[in-house]
Amino acid sequence: MAELLVAEGVTKRFTGALALDDVNFAVRTGEVHVLLGENGAGKSTLVKVLAGVHAPDAGRIVVDGQPVRITSPQHSRDLGIAVIHQELTLVPELSVAENLFIGRLPRRFGLVDKARVRRDAVALLDRVGLRVDPATPVRELGIAGQQMVEIARALDLDARLLVLDEPTAVLTDTETDRLLEIMDGLRREGVGLIFITHHLEEIRRIADRITVLRDGRSVAMLPGGASVQHMIEQMVGRSIDEQYPRQDQQPGDVLLKVDGLTRDGVFADVSFEVRAGEVVGIAGLVGAGRTEVVRAAFGVDRYNSGTVEVAGRRLPGGDVHAAMRAGLGLVPEDRKGQGLVLSSGVGENLGLVTLRSATTAGFVDRKRQDQRAAEMASALRVKTTGLSQPVRELSGGNQQKVVIGKWLLADPKVLVLDEPTRGVDVGAKVEIYELINRMTASGRAVLLVSSDLPEVIGMSDRIVVMAHGRVAGELPAAGATQDQVMALAVQDRITEETPA
């Protein structure tokens, strides 16, 4: 296999900080090469160098044996490099076919040649195994389908090196399987792939080689079959004894009681309890109604029947503020869209929930707010240049710490965490787990919604599994296996007996 792209000693400096420091890296044709590293390790910068967004300060890039200076994104594309970013670049209202050929629709007599568009689109979609009518508007596809369209478009532009930046972060397990299959197919066609992911299991399934980045340096090159333990050690530069450092607590009084919660057509008869000192996991497939249930319990959305009690007090439906006052907190699934004010500073965001309690006679005690925010930021080890730095500029893990921190300042009795570690690097994950431990050790409780099965099993005391908007079963986490949880999550029809 020939070397498709070689990077030697690539260095990139941003005002003072060394983002890439003497990085060495190579991709062959017909290879899946994984870039592994914590958030902030330099993966994105390296990708941007290859995409022609940033010019390196030092080092050499060789494509097909020829040294090149990639001067612009257009130049990068001309060299056959295509980057699929996490944020997709499709036009949702246009059809799949039009999106595939944006800006270069085939024309005949000055008019768009519709027959040819359709024919070419079908052929392209076939290559990535996406079976949809090319006339379908892209917005109807779902995130996985949209990614396939992006990949198909890149292939049509004769991409020989495909860079996939965390494509699986937003995919369900089946969708991920599908994507990995397609990647395997492209590899056999001789396409070189650079794959960025935080899911170590996926790496074991698909990678040919792994380059580990740490603090801007390429610290190791591992074979695809490297053990998870080994990958983590290389990534964080130390050994993490336990990926899930859950400490058991003696459960106390019931702090959160959800009883027969029903929202017509979304979820039905959902009941569970969370006790002081406990972590209760909610597992299930995407679309099982997990997020919808916790949002309703927190008062974000309404429900038709059932009750929610916090520490024995019944909450009125649809009233976030009442839920908050009773001692409930929610770290939402979509931290950028629902948890943060991206343009505002770290301090401002940390003070969101306590804004009201810091108000006397209409006036906010901002000095106290800033002081408490500063304390929380350092306690959570948020990597930031200061309280006024916009949270937009923080890495995913640090953003998540800010969202959790704003709730910790309000000291809730029960904190609901919806996918708290999605898109968060291994080091920050463990820190979030330790926060969970600290909360339960001090007599609070945590309700943990997560699609990451090892995480739910590793961090929970009990697991409630949901399927089709109902509770499919509940099991103790100790000794539970992924297979057991999955078996409950995929069950087709819930039998009429009440869950244990």
């Binding site: 927190f298 974000v300 976030v320 503020h321 908050m324 929610l330 939402p332 869209g337 629902q338 948890g339 943060l340 004010v341 991206l342 343009s343 505002s344 500073g345 401002e348 969101l352 929930v353 804004l355 009201r356 108000t359 209409g362 006036f363 906010v364 901002r366 006024s388 916009p390 704003k406």
Partner: protein
């Protein structure tokens, strides 16, 4: 970034946070050279009076725009509030101060209706306040019967000078500037405006009662519009049915020239004040230079576009 407590005087910081301030200074210097009468005390006070009405409207609009909304009704609401006050004293025989209060209440009620339509009725702010623009103007005509009414003495007093030449409108504008700065920086509602404008969903999920806050925001805008309307009428000692037509656009222009973002989350009282001053200085200066009103409109449009363009470029380069 939205506001910081400055310790001491830091000129560089003031300039970097208020891009339009440089423009205002350039404008003042240029006009002083081109039109010698511009710099006279009397003329500068005139500029202040001319700025006052638009500035107070614009302070109210700042609340709305920072929270990600828009209020197109402020010009009409200003006219209606003044007309109600004039009618109450001239036609209904109410005492002046009571008529003044009734005028203010009119503005608040119009604002509350806007707020209710936006938050509980889920109408886009553009539509709700466009409807109010028409309703309030129509009611002004209904109340007045289409003819101007004299304002009560207390309202005329607001438009007059204190002592020999210190115009009250100028003082009132400065007071409202202080109030606006305080509300934005220090109060719960003010901080909530930035959060709602920055990310409404995050505001809701953080326990901020977004609907209630929007009522407060639009009510404030209505109140400020009423004050501006009363000042305008007081200056002329007469409430006109066609007063303040199109002022909502000047108010929005002042806020935007001051560096606020129409997508919400960004905006400052000082910026809005500078924006209103830029518009007033420009109008006054063009008059001094005897530019025809036709060309004045063209120039003002160009300045608005330039101001926002420069601000956008400045932000991008950072």
């Amino acid at each position: 970034m939205t506001s910081t407590t400055a310790r001491g005087f830091d000129a560089r910081k003031i300039f970097s946070e208020n891009g339009a301030l440089g423009g205002l200074i350039v404008l003042v210097v240029a006009l002083s050279v081109l039109a010698p009468s511009f710099l006279s005390t009397q003329n500068l006070l005139n500029v202040g009076v001319q700025a006052a009405v638009v500035a107070i409207l614009a302070f109210g609009s700042t609340f709305v725009i920072v929270s990600g909304g828009i209020d197109l009704s402020v010009g009409s609401v200003a006219a209606l509030s003044a007309m109600v006050a004039a009618w109450a004293s001239a036609e209904a025989g109410m005492p002046g101060p009571a008529a003044l209060v009734l005028g203010l209440v009119t503005g608040v009620v119009a604002g509350l209706v806007n707020g209710a339509l936006v938050s509980y009725g889920k109408l886009p702010a553009f539509i709700a306040t466009l409807a109010m623009l028409s309703i309030a103007r129509g009611l002004t005509l209904v109340v007045s019967g289409g003819t101007p009414l004299p304002t009560p003495d207390v309202v005329s007093f607001l438009g007059s000078n204190l002592g020999r030449f210190l115009p009250l409108p100028l003082l009132i504008m400065l007071v409202f500037f202080g109030v606006t700065a305080l509300v934005l920086a220090r109060t719960y509602s003010g901080r909530a405006m930035y959060v709602i404008g920055g990310n409404e969903e995050a505001a809701r999920l953080s326990g901020i009662d977004v609907r209630k806050q929007k009522l407060v925001i639009y009510a404030l805008s209505g109140l400020f519009a009423a004050v501006a309307g009363l000042l305008l009428a007081g200056r002329l000692s007469s409430a006109g049915p066609q007063a303040a037509v199109g002022y909502e656009l000047d108010a929005i222009a002042a806020v935007v020239i001051g560096g606020a973002s129409l997508s919400g989350g960004v905006g400052r009282a000082s910026g809005t004040l500078i924006g209103a001053l830029v518009l007033a200085v420009l109008r006054n200066g063009l008059n001094q230079l005897q530019v025809t009103p036709f060309w004045q409109q063209v120039v003002i449009g160009v300045v608005i576009a330039l101001a926002v363009l420069l601000d956008t470029l400045r932000r991008r380069s950072r």
